[in-house]
Subunit: 136 residues, 2 copies
DNA sequence: ATCGCACACGTTATACCATTACACAATCAT
DNA sequence: ATGATTGTGTAATGGTATAACGTGTGCGAT
């Protein structure tokens, strides 16, 4: 591992398997769903999934959705670099979309800074109705 | 219950007990912590807590912190009305502070609206370091 | 070369968070 | 009174996450 930018090429076997499961999924997956999908590949215990997820999140390849207790592959080719990500979560169809707005990041940081708080990581999850479900 | 504005006076016995536990706590409490604190008052099962919490959250008297799986009493006397709340969560001392910024709400709504998404509820949780911990 | 270290991995057990299902009681409008 | 709604109590279960242990492997420093 030559530097701190990770791509899928750098991953260990377990990390690759978990990343693969998330990448081919259409939406977020829970750790236990991933476990079930990987039993054929030798996965036996939750910890194998959680350990891989921890690293993938650390590398910025995967995001954790706090309000769903689930995980999604980052939709940006190289996620490293944009500190702020927001998600929309449709309560009707379950669709999750990743929004990137650098200005939002700045705004949140400065809002927090007003009370002397330094932001390290931010969670922004918007629940509501997506365009398709509103139309249907 | 004459209208849809709830205050602590409107609460049922269980709701009052849970509200009381949260109100006198210095920070967020998990449902099971609340359960333990209320055993002396007859609480026996998690569901008693969760049912009360559901209502209190619905009434806007309590907020749920998704990233902590915990709950806090709203710090504003009358929380009903400000649609958007953001939290700072200090990773060092655990302190949780509620920020209100109406402009942020507008901004998030319009950001989502750009992709046709209608926001019903938003979660904004900023993790980092509070002023005191940065100074210490 | 081999020792020590860091790191990924495997397994079991456990802790923690939340809901389902069923039954009973209180309240209120008709 | 009756039925609808809401709150309550209890037991059982399901879902999420970590602790604690041990093993193996790669690799740099001595």
């Amino acid at each position: 591992m030559s530097d701190h930018v990770h791509t899928t090429a750098d991953l260990t076997k377990n990390q690759s398997l978990v990343m693969g499961a998330l990448a081919k999924a259409s939406g977020p997956l829970s750790a236990y769903t991933i476990l079930d999908e990987l039993r054929d590949h030798g996965f036996r215990a939750p910890l194998q999934v959680y350990r891989a997820l921890d690293k993938l999140v650390e590398y910025g390849l995967v995001h954790r959705l706090e309000s769903l207790n689930a995980f999604v592959a980052c939709s940006h080719a190289e996620c490293e670099g944009h500190g702020q990500t927001a998600f929309t979560i449709c309560q009707s169809c379950g669709d999750v979309t990743e929004l990137a707005d650098d200005d939002l990041a700045v705004r949140l940081k400065s809002l927090a800074a007003r009370s002397g708080f330094t932001v390290r990581h931010s969670t922004v999850e918007l629940r509501g109705t997506c365009r398709d479900c509103a139309a249907g």
